[in-house]
Amino acid sequence: MTIILLYHNRRAWLRSFWLTMSAALGILAGLLMWGFPAGTRVVVGLVVTVIVALPGVFRPGLARQALRAWNALARLFARAGTAWLTAVCFYVVIRAMRGTGSSLGPHPPAPGDSLWTPWPEGSAGRTLADGIVAARVAGSGWVRDFTAWVRSSRNSWGLALLPMLLVLSTLETAQDVEAPPPGIYTLY
């Protein structure tokens, strides 16, 4: 699930976003009343939620700018988070695993060379990519494929990458999810 919210031109999404943010503000208001009786905090939270939610429910267009601003913030965070996590993957995990004798080279390819791996036929699972394909469980997600490869190839170091990969999968970059440019063809 990506953190970027799509469909800023859909009424249901605008209403839903507004309701979510209203609930968040209600919870925040309740938390700020720390020290008051629990019942009072709940009532204040509910009142704030309802008051904030009403305009957006009846006029979902009001939420459009807010949703755009939220998406802009989410994209900013996604870019920074992706840079940090890939740095951790490269400088910590892969470099450390190099010390165990892994054949995975942490260097960029020489000019003219490619890291592209062709689709393996009857692969014995020698490299990361063809090994994952070879260990693939029909109908499963990539996490199961990856762990299946870790088990079958006895490359347990791959587990160190898994938390990073899981988080990275939710931090899609802006161009992956951005609305299509203005077009003249509805069919595409």
Binding site: M1, N9, L162, T186
Partner: protein, 361 residues
Amino acid sequence: MSALRTAYSVAVAVVATLLAAPVLVLALPFWGVAFLTRAVARRLEPRAGSWRDLVRFDPVVGWRPRPSVNGYFAERGDVFHVVTDAEGWPGRVGVGESDLVVFGDSIAFGFGVDAARSYREVNPRLRVKSISAPGYNLVQELLLMQEMAPRLAGKLVVWFIYHGNDLYDNLSPFTGPYRTPFVRERRDGPGWEIVTGHLNPAPWRYSAGRYRDWQRVLASLYAPTFLAERAYAACDFLLGEAKRVCDGVGARLVVCTLPSPLALGPLASRLAQHCDPPEVFDPDLPDRKIGEFCRVHGIPFVAAKPHLSPRDYQLPDDHWTEQGHRRVAEILRRLHQEHAAGGPPVRVPGTVVAEVSGGGQ
């Protein structure tokens, strides 16, 4: 040794996870909002199909909407409700009981707004039938006009010509992977001919690059270019054919041009940048050319451009908003009023009107 490697891997994983922890913590509010928004939106929104669920192959015009559809669809814009009749044309009213028949593309189809809010339905005193489908060009619409001609007798027929893609699409044998009827210059002499021999359900796999530079293509139709010359000549031919079909059955044809939002207001100057030089860009050229053809053919002509602004479109999509539909419904009401009063030329205040030089019903 293997146990040592595993322990080493686990230790590295722990260090890496600790280093990633700040990102995880900061991401929690974003995940929470995304998860809740999606969950609630799915409950608020009806399940929607895509346009592919809406059309089927047709050997005469390439594709037609499926008959008796009553469902929700979504493409780039909001989810909207679609209703088609037993023949697949939008709306419940049939051609026979309609006061006015509109031919057009997705805009005439009412793409992007609920059927009940489209220009067809907002005026309950005017029964409007639309013969239209997403992606149609004028050639397809002319073929349908020919096919339905006997049922158009005595009717007011309004032909929507959308500047945004109709003029160029008339010259193209495909729309994406779909084969479309098109027009080409005759090989055996002057004039144009309609080509349908390539129509079949197989996807069109050639010349898809046409869409890569569509803004330049669109802009070139607003300037004195070779493409514009061909596109307008083809349009002239199609207008003449449509007039002949309608005259043949005693229907009254009116042409209504619809502007591209990219040629309206401040957006026009951006589109002009695709012309070389930008100064040759003329936002009124399509209306002037088509208006002139209509004058020659004796077809009443209305340009919707003065009635519409970019706010009437679902930008970045180029279909009308509900407000845009209401504005067009008002144009149609006036057209029908004039038609019922019995006289050309059609006059809708604020529009460019071509005087009818004979031939009008």
